[in-house]
Subunit: 334 residues, 2 copies
DNA sequence: TTGAAAGCGCTACCAA
DNA sequence: TTGGTAGCGCTTTCAA
């Protein structure tokens, strides 16, 4: 096993032929005789030759690598989107680099800067929370200015002119709310730790619209919290307010609603119904099984990845926007 | 906003100075006068100059990028290890590329081949299930042969001579089993979907050793299944065997044990105690709270990343092996 | 059928 | 203080 990467140059000096001959032979050029090709390929194989990707990248100006920039990978939603992206990209001749921003604007900016100059051919992005709250978007424009395509998914920025794959957050919660109203629920409470995010705001709008359309239901009530406080807030609302249903907008809230309803001895769904946002797998593993709004994360990932590949291959200048419809999966809590 | 990446060459032609002057000025060389530096830096900033990483990589032979190759990101354990790795690497001047093998040997081989020639400086790896079952390890040797360091974590290959960060799987389950025995449990059953993996086998060994040392306990019973069947198998063992405790070796098994014990009306932990492997967060969100074997995934990730940085910086030839001790976190199920 | 040379963007050595 | 040039590993004309 040779210690270091062998290069065309070294191969050429071993065989006493020129570098270009080696290169052509390994690329199966018709210019080279079969005999020479054979000799060269055998030697290359013997020395375990692998072309240097970096040199290829420099030469061609493209690296066949796509960056996937996501806020977190501990979040099951993003993990599943990633799974979908990965499946599509794996079938192509592209690779992916995954960057985790941990919801930090600085890290997002740094990652884009780091990768936009030569390292990747395009970006798939779900923007960080801090980016959305601070409304700081110039790094996206810069990347676009460098000629690198961006496809945003889920957490998108309206003012940036790029391909987008979105979730129909408004409709999803609008429908979920109506579902609860049809079940006779009057006091439906929203539980959320994602009110900073555009998707969180859209979901709340869907809820408000549904209540607005309905007759004889109680006032809207929106409980916001953070990961650490949402359990306590859920408990508080159960104990001190009239509530006969929860719509939980994220997984922390979903667990909080379920846990606190149980701990406070409420019959689910008779006394309190719950609809939440957690993965299908988790929904099946909690008791009682949780009715969920299914975002079809894997499909979303696949769609996003395909859009990126189309962009990269065709260089089409048209901007596409796609919406993936969420669906309600009924289980024991509603 | 310039459409394309501006290069030193273009900068130099705009300013009418040589490329080397530009390069030196931007790198703050003392050879260049302050005045020229200022002019050059201003122009660079105006044009949003970013050095081309690929060219730098070609030149220097290193890319300041580390590949993290893991079987899955839907698995909470790996997601949390990744989180730890990411935290350490983010503080360094390195970047990470994350590759997901989906437990496939082919993808693992392909990823290493893809990246080992010029793209990354080193590899952090948890080997795929298929790699362990097929005992096919030549791709690791090849990478090592190319002079790229490897740090393996959790899923390690004994015969490969590289840095390793391991979990004390044997002791963890040995201790968990003893804990149950002390509680008076006699018929402790193992539930596992990871019997193919080295870590799964080690855990079983720990269980067997503990039972061997104990007096007056029942015969060992090891129930193996896959994700789809483990619920059914758990149910079966509860209904048809004497069992007063489960040790579940993975998260699917943990959920199965908990769910089936509840569905079959068993008092937890009086009739059936359960110790499982799921994330601390999940353990707190299921009811009753699940006693877990905590692998300290984030710490494990940090340790692994530090080891890699040490390797990369010092080029020390010594091989290090570290073990991260698992601990039992007692909750309501034991 | 083979080889020499230029060039991708950058740094570093050596001259001027 | 500046500039010319070689070279990282590769592909691709253009000559031989």
């Amino acid at each position: 096993m040779p210690k270091n990467n062998i290069t065309l140059k070294e191969l050429s000096s071993i065989l006493g032929v020129s570098i270009s001959t080696i290169s052509k032979a390994l690329n199966d050029s018709h210019e080279i005789s079969e005999a020479t090709k054979k000799r060269i390929k055998e030697l290359a194989k013997l020395h375990n030759y692998q072309p240097n990707k970096i040199a290829l990248g420099l030469k061609s100006g493209k690296t066949n690598t796509i960056a996937v920039v996501i806020p977190s990978v501990q979040n099951a939603f993003f993990a599943r989107v990633l799974f979908g992206i990965e499946q599509i990209i794996a079938e192509s001749n592209y690779n992916i680099i995954i960057c985790i921003t941990n919801e930090s604007l600085d890290k997002e900016v740094e990652n884009l800067r780091m990768l936009s100059n030569g390292v990747v051919d395009g970006f798939i992005i779900a923007v960080a929370e801090e980016t959305q709250t601070s409304q700081s978007f110039s790094h996206f424009k810069e990347v676009l200015g460098r000629g690198k395509p961006i496809v945003m998914f889920d957490r998108v920025v309206e003012s940036i002119n790029c391909d987008k794959v979105m979730v129909d957050d408004f409709n999803a919660v609008f429908n979920a709310t109506n579902h609860l109203i049809k079940l006779g629920k009057k006091n439906i409470v929203i539980l959320s730790t994602i009110n900073n995010l555009s998707v969180g705001k859209l979901r709340v709008k869907g809820y408000l619209a549904a209540l607005n359309n309905a007759e004889g239901v109680g006032e809207p009530l929106i409980i916001e919290g953070v990961r650490e406080t949402i359990d306590e807030k859920a408990k508080d609302v159960i104990q001190n307010h009239k509530v006969d249903a929860f719509i939980a907008l994220d997984d922390f809230s979903s667990f909080a609603a379920l846990k606190m309803a149980k701990l406070n001895g409420k019959q689910i769904p008779q006394e309190i119904a719950i609809i939440g946002y957690i993965s299908e797998r988790m929904a099946n593993n909690v008791t009682p099984g949780l009715t969920t709004i299914n975002q079809h994360a894997t499909r979303l990932g696949k769609t996003t990845a395909k859009m990126m590949l189309d962009k990269l291959n065709s260089k089409s200048e048209t901007i596409e926007h796609t919406v993936i419809n969420s669906t309600l999966t009924l289980r024991a809590t509603s």
